[in-house]
């Protein structure tokens, strides 16, 4: 148990420390750590947790850390995973604030960010593909994804409404 907790904590420190670009960009990293490296849950379980994180208040990274932590090792797991994902922010943000003017003018850092941006978007794109592989299992699910994309781009439908529609579609098509 001790080593599971330690692993969980370190995994989330890693996810927080390399998680540029917010929650979605962290998904690829989480998938790697949680499913591939440690096998703590299956891909469908992981997707369901992302869906729950979308439906509940708060940052997605925190939501999923708490959820995964709880599923792997109960309350201590939830606490340590959440602390783990926050820790890098705690360590980095105050030095970043102290050197704020330097931070902006530093050419090297600005240049690094121009390379990190496309990397972050590639990670999000990759997360979509990996999640798609196990979420889009038949023609019906492809149709749901296509319908959602159309609603998102053409009508700007709220994600929460889309999830509700997805649940209804699921009940009609799969129950």
């Amino acid at each position: 148990m001790f080593f599971v907790l330690l692993d969980l904590f370190l995994s989330y420190v890693k996810i927080g420390f390399f998680g540029f670009g917010g929650g979605y960009a962290m998904l690829a990293l989480m998938e790697h750590e949680i499913i591939r490296v440690h096998g703590w849950m299956t891909m469908p379980e992981f997707i369901d947790i992302i869906a729950v994180a979308e439906m509940t208040p708060g940052p997605i990274a925190i939501n999923s850390a708490t959820f995964v932590g709880y599923n792997v090792a109960g309350l201590p797991g939830a606490t340590l995973a959440t602390l783990g994902v926050i820790l890098p922010s705690l360590l980095l943000i105050i030095p970043a604030a102290k050197i704020v003017s330097y931070f902006y003018q530093h050419r090297g850092l600005q240049r690094a960010l121009t390379g990190i941006h496309p990397a972050v978007i590639a990670l999000i794109g990759f997360a979509a593909i990996v999640v798609g592989e196990s979420a889009m299992v038949d023609l019906k699910s492809w149709a749901i994804t296509a319908g959602c994309l159309a609603l998102l781009f053409l009508r700007g439908t709220h994600p929460l409404l889309l999830i509700a529609l997805g649940a209804v579609a699921g009940l009609i098509l799969y129950a």
């Binding site: 208040p57 970043a96 889309l162 209804v168």
Partner: protein, 198 residues
């Protein structure tokens, strides 16, 4: 950051109110408890309260904080609340703001994991989730598209993106390696006309 110049400069520090620690904790607790949809929904709400209503911070400082929060790793709202609290009331302010942001989502998720997750094996719940999963794919894909649209105006960024995505899919490159490679390539192969907008 188009509004970096904002109106903060003109307003100066004159009209600002001092933020009390208890108020900061309450504000972030409230925002943490009611905003569904993650960081990008929370930031505009925080902005409305701390600039327009409470007058704790200038527009310019707000945008600065947001830019820093997005430039360092970690969940953006976590970085942002920590930094805003820190700049308003020091370390205590930062920690209390962070506590406010994280606590509601921690407790709500814990509640779901403990009390509701056991129902997930029921046939109807599983059917609903089979319908929800493809929605998640669409949400993630549209997040990539939204973030990519301004960045890909520069061809160089698009080339890097394709390179990284191919590396992830075909070669199975580790996600951390992609971020590190992005930083290295950004430094070694800088954009021609100075620095692109972040």
């Amino acid at each position: 950051m188009d509004n970096l110049q904002g109106n903060g400069g003109a307003a100066g520090n004159g009209g600002l109110n001092e933020a009390r620690l208890a108020d900061m904790l309450l504000l972030f607790l409230k925002i943490g408890a009611i905003t569904i949809g993650g960081g990008y929904v929370m930031i505009p709400l925080i902005r409305e309260v701390i600039i327009d209503k409470k007058r704790w911070i200038t527009e310019r400082d707000f945008v600065d904080n947001l830019a820093i929060a997005q430039s360092i790793p970690g969940p953006i709202v976590v970085n942002f609340s920590l930094l805003t609290g820190y700049r308003l009331r020091g370390l205590k302010g930062g920690l209390l703001s962070l506590l406010g942001t994280v606590t509601p989502s921690f407790l709500i998720i814990l509640g779901i994991a403990i009390f509701l997750w056991r129902f997930k094996d029921i046939h109807l719940v599983q059917a609903a989730f089979l319908g929800i999963r493809p929605v998640v794919v669409a949400l993630i894909a549209s997040a990539a598209y939204k973030l990519g649209k301004p960045v890909f105006r520069l061809k160089r960024a698009l080339v890097l993106f394709i390179l990284f995505l191919a590396g992830l899919i075909i070669l199975g490159v580790h996600p951390i390696a992609v971020v590190v490679a992005g930083a290295a390539l950004g430094v070694l192969w800088p954009p021609k006309s100075g620095v692109e907008k972040g």
